[in-house]
Subunit: 751 residues, 2 copies
Amino acid sequence: MHNWSNKILLSNTAIRILLISFFITLFQYQGNAQEHPKLILTKAGVEKIRAELGNIPLFDASLAAIKAAVDAEIALGIDTPIPKDYSGGYTHTRHKQNWFTLQKAGVLYQILDDEKYAKYVKDMLMQYEEMYKTLPLHPKTRSYARGKLFWQCLNDSNWLVYVSQAYDCIYDYLTKKERKKLEKNLFRPFADHISVDSPQFYQRVHNHSTWGNAAVGMIGLVMNDQELIDRALYGIKGVNLDKKAKDDDGGYLNKDGKAGFLANIEEPFSPEGYYNEGPYYQRYAMYPFLIFAEGLHNVKPELNIFKYKDGVLLKSINALLNLSDADGDFFPLNDGQKGMSYYTGALVTAVNISYQYGGRDPQLLSIAKKQGKVLLDDSGLAVAIGVRDGKEEAFEKKSINLTDGPDGKQGGVGILRNEGLELVFKYAAQGSSHGHYDKLSYSLYEDGNEVLQDYGLARFVNIEQKGGGNYLKENKTWAKQTIAHNTLVQNETSHFQGKYEIGSQHHSDLHFYDDSDTAVQVVSAKEKNAYPGTEIHRTMAVIKDEDFEKPFLLDMMRVTSNTENQYDLPFYFMGQVIKANFEYESPALAILGEDNGYQHLYLEGKGTPSSKSTVLSWLGNGNFYTLTTITDNADELLFTRLGANDPEFNLRRDAGFMLRRKNTKNTTFVTVIESHGSYSPVTESAINSNSNIKEIKLVLDTADYTAVLITNVKGNSKLFITANTKVLKTTTHTVKISGKDYTWTGSYTYQ
Amino acid sequence: MHNWSNKILLSNTAIRILLISFFITLFQYQGNAQEHPKLILTKAGVEKIRAELGNIPLFDASLAAIKAAVDAEIALGIDTPIPKDYSGGYTHTRHKQNWFTLQKAGVLYQILDDEKYAKYVKDMLMQYEEMYKTLPLHPKTRSYARGKLFWQCLNDSNWLVYVSQAYDCIYDYLTKKERKKLEKNLFRPFADHISVDSPQFYQRVHNHSTWGNAAVGMIGLVMNDQELIDRALYGIKGVNLDKKAKDDDGGYLNKDGKAGFLANIEEPFSPEGYYNEGPYYQRYAMYPFLIFAEGLHNVKPELNIFKYKDGVLLKSINALLNLSDADGDFFPLNDGQKGMSYYTGALVTAVNISYQYGGRDPQLLSIAKKQGKVLLDDSGLAVAIGVRDGKEEAFEKKSINLTDGPDGKQGGVGILRNEGLELVFKYAAQGSSHGHYDKLSYSLYEDGNEVLQDYGLARFVNIEQKGGGNYLKENKTWAKQTIAHNTLVQNETSHFQGKYEIGSQHHSDLHFYDDSDTAVQVVSAKEKNAYPGTEIHRTMAVIKDEDFEKPFLLDMMRVTSNTENQYDLPFYFMGQVIKANFEYESPALAILGEDNGYQHLYLEGKGTPSSKSTVLSWLGNGNFYTLTTITDNADELLFTRLGANDPEFNLRRDAGFMLRRKNTKNTTFVTVIESHGSYSPVTESAINSNSNIKEIKLVLDTADYTAVLITNVKGNSKLFITANTKVLKTTTHTVKISGKDYTWTGSYTYQ
């Protein structure tokens, strides 16, 4: 067990926090803030909802579904068992179910004005009060911050975020005495346990703390308890944690001493709203961020929470929606479970709140319509009315560059989109404890399907048989390692030696991003720290050329190093091999290496180039794909298969192709990925099943410029030239290639 | 090159054929048979269509799509290049496109009464006439029966099946002189080439011959050429092939001397309409069967073709629709490409014709609606009107037992369905040259997804880069082998030693089939010839028990042998391993064997049972599945992975689990497969992820009865007893098990 008390240091309250507190106190809003409900529902909002009921299909359907669920729970009777289980066990599942049902029943009481729901909430709360006042720590000891109802404070916080809403809804239904009893014996000590009693959980910038802050703040708002509200917004007064201590995931506990809800907005979000852990964890944190913000907006409008940090909360929703593929599945950057999508409940909240407080963008309505449900509050009402009135427009995802870091200066993620093709290029910071060692990696999608995959996480979330549903060791030995990604591995070691302490000090840097010409969109970034002494500069362009059926990807990776190295560049293609233009042997299956993820790869084939343009085609999701990459005779071409050293079958048996270049200091990898044609097992027609490329050539490669000549099967050639040094958009360049002068303005040209 | 002339024997015309010919001549229909169009469209039909146009959405949409396609072709101009390519090459693709366009243009001329379409057809036909009259054999020599326009007579026949329809449509538009020119120089010699000049292709019972027969017959009907019509119906007069000769696929050319369209209906179809090669090839043969039948129906109604062999053509459509999963994908029995479904064009024809000539079953309309298009003829009109008028009903697939063999006496295929679960149990004959060595094999589906798969074929149909789109050698070395299927392998050799000559002499035998009780449906069959000296008796039950969430599969395989053998029983489960209740080692990947398909399997894990009930769970398609099988201590439990000795990546890397029992004479394998619960990456809830079974026990196993006791996790037990000898449905049995008497009537009991 950790002994956290040793790590807590007392400190003076920061000047900055004092000033903000003063500001808030000065303009303390005194209007209807003491009416109930006031948190998520408002008195005025409830009246509007009641007036529209029966005439707002999306809202009516959501209400009916929730009513059916709550009625079923009421029929079952109330059960608040003495806590004893981990996640998945009965007491855990029961208390989790209870928090959802309480919140819903509270809302039903307000909307339907039916006392049975208020009574149900009251009765259950009284049972909790009776139990909680003498409840010891949860008996399970695995967590770094044990809760009381649940094995971890995180789940206790989940409970309070929901239950504070229920309490708000029946506040006026209760007598003053009843309220006092609940607040004194249940809510106040509950809020204290997850905050002052558990600073290692609460006093951080982390998605766990965000839940804690929201829980404390929301019950504070309902109880009108300024101390709790302040604790929520600014952290526990005077408490600072050891800045070098680490949490169970290997991340720093509190590197720079920041804490509280506002710090949790400031730190992890970049100015455009990119969340440093990636979209999967952003989705998880979205609910407390937004639902507490909605409460603050209603009760403390003077805080202007939705304008905080230049409106980053609402921007983050837009960023998150843009971090999904054509089907709405989030890109699995860092630790991310594939298949998690904007159909998840937190995104219903996000879309509704964004619509309500972010200018009623009609494009959001089309997502709400797909989601098929709305929140039972003012924002859900607004969305349901918008959909009913046919205001929706298609949500158009465009190319977007999202910076990383609180100030937007720690690299970022560039997404280039053209027709069905989506490039996701990651040149971000480490991504906290959920980050992967994948500098300048990318994944490629077409029409919502993976063309070149990011593996995602190695975890079966909530599937108890698979390591209790927790992260599996293969998450560390495979999924986080560099070789699990479509980026460069030097000497079979991961970026930053796979060490969080090193990785978290660095980030890649944007060279340039330019989506101004839809036909030729480019993102370019550099990485100087992953391998000391080696600089990697990757420029990726999504190009629509009239001679090609569809947009294609041009990938140029320029590597310069002080030392001779072995470079491995893997391509995790999704599909079945159709054709290769090189000879290879299929050895008895060997394992590729011993560490850094290589121990999980089998070698299925090994060959050498037969041509300067090495070609591999595959068929996946009904499309043909061809990779053409510039090779020289000494290169090795490897077919790999995931699954070695995986006795529990925790990994998928996915294919890979790897280009290996040995004993090399400086080199440039140039690859084109084309999508072409289609195949259907119903029509059995193979349409346009061959690549449109005859050859690609690196015709210039200096410190200043890299130029690639792409010649198609008709013999037509196009030249892509990119500037390797920082240049102005207005700078005009001229270079001579094969005796001919090429002139252009800006960072790149394609002609 | 084959020298076919040596194999042709002249013989006297069979008495039977003479009699049928006489019968037909006697009742020769003289009505409007000489009007045009008459083949697929009729004069009266065209009038009806014209009257309804604009008011029949499905038909109107189909017409608009076809008009757009034909107009685009007309704009491109006519091209009839000198033949030179294989499939996929330009001349092949062009002539193929031409046949489709000619047929469509002919239909458009009739429906839209626009001469430009007639002129287009005429002009192209004249170009073909000019070329064909001096055209030599196609220059490519790979086929056993070379065509002239195409490399194989099969494609020439495809051409004529379509083009005869076009000719019929513009028959009256042409002058007598023009018709004479076309018939003399193009159609008649064309029909002769694919028949009298290519008897090895034409004079058989085979799907190729069906195309040939239909081609000759359809042009014969249009030309009113009785000689061609007779040749189509009865084969080439006086020609018989060597009965021992084999074709390129290894099948017999013409084992019993039968030929012609009627023989092609009689032989391969069982009385219920099961086609001996399986659904994938039935689908391919459906178009010529039905389109020629429709022509015969219109021009020679006295033949009553849709009532031939007790209406087997229409029954075959019903059989085929029932041989598809919940998504309409055909079960890949024998050589079958996965994903081929009732959305294929041939099934539009089948569904339309079945509706029109088979009693207007409203359930067919729901499939037509999903297909989204109809034929542009009387049958398509009827379907479009039915859909417009809202007559459709859901197509309800029930359990069905389809016999195999012309008389229904060569085994069969039993399909048991309950809720979303579908068991496909194959106890059929060999399935001609496309058959697999998979006696008593099965596959299992849930909601259209594979739970335990049949591998299907090893071929990338029409993908030129993969062996020219033809069968790959892995089709023989893996896909056809017994070990590629969910059935018993003895001593690592395939059934019938994998020899077609032996396999085609035998079939399994039904023991009993009983779907009368929806809750407990059973199919049971025996195989005595796959391994001489060994009898395999497999009984499969799909059981819905109130103590279980969903129906489960009970599989009992009783093996009795004269000799001690090694028995391998593989399970090709689809998904990722969740949990196993036994210990196993993960050795350095070894290859399982050297022949009979074993050379394609890697060994991923090897263990021994820890319990009498060995358990393996996996997650696939969002559901949990658990296999529980009775084991003893000496059994070996193997995890396999497909892909060894597959240098071209022609095989999928699919998982398998195998139960191996060595040195055994008689034994009974008992397995339960449960589907339970669900998992969604969006909700991240793992619902009911554990098996409901505590243990299964073989409590009685004699020559007369096998009894299995299934005990669930609540401790409740149920007994399944099946009779191993033939019994009457009315027979009452009593057996004593553990001192208790069990009494029931019929083949089985579950109590």
